[in-house]
């Protein structure tokens, strides 16, 4: 299974989702490995009243295996439904490696 699929599965299994996007951004970076940089947008009511750091920690923990085995960058955009709506349901593009 690709890392992208594995991340999707892990997150869908662990969250009541309103919205989930897992975007492989590895092509924006140098190097031969094609599954190194990912962006995750996850919208779930389970984030209500949970601090940003704690939200990130939860995902980092769920994806520990991936982070220990080749995933080098994981950009996380974690919102409740109303936060996501306030953002106009979009997030900034990720940066390229060296600016």
């Amino acid at each position: 299974m690709s890392v992208e699929k594995k991340i999707k599965h892990t997150l869908s299994d662990n969250f009541e989702l309103s919205h989930l996007e897992v975007i492989n951004e590895s092509h924006m970076h140098s190097g031969p490995n094609t599954e190194t940089h990912f962006k995750v947008i996850l919208v779930s009511e389970q984030f209500e009243d949970v601090k940003l750091v704690q939200r990130h920690r939860k995902i980092n923990k769920l994806l520990k295996y991936e982070l220990d085995n080749g995933v080098h960058a994981l950009s996380l955009h974690l919102f409740t439904k109303s936060e996501w709506d306030t953002k106009g349901q979009s997030v900034k593009d990720s940066p390229l490696c060296a600016k």
Partner: protein, 104 residues
């Protein structure tokens, strides 16, 4: 002194510190670049450690606060987060307030 002790000392002795790839003037990673830019825009001085120049810190920092990626921002000894969180707080105007609260 081992690396974890050095990190502890650095975050305790600097009100605002970023661990990044490269320097605020010459960032070596897009995420580090964005994050240090957000700190600069808050208008206060901050310390930085270039993790690419210090392999021990590079290896040990993820263990320090159980946070797997770079950059990492600490305010008043506490982990604020990486790029995504710092930018989010900056856009909401909260980052500057957090910095002001510890510098003034």
């Amino acid at each position: 002194m081992d690396a974890l002790e050095r990190i502890k000392e650095q975050v305790e002795n600097n009100k605002i510190i970023i661990y990044m790839k490269g320097t605020p003037q010459m960032p070596q990673c897009g995420f580090s670049s964005r994050t240090s830019e957000a700190l600069k825009q808050c208008g206060f001085e901050f310390a930085y450690v270039n993790v690419l120049m210090d392999p021990e810190i590079f290896q040990n920092l993820p263990k320090f606060a159980d946070w797997p990626t770079f950059p990492q921002v600490y305010i008043d000894g506490e982990l604020v987060g990486g790029c995504d969180i710092t930018i989010e707080l900056h856009e909401k105007g909260e980052l500057k307030k957090m910095i002001e609260a510890v510098t003034t």
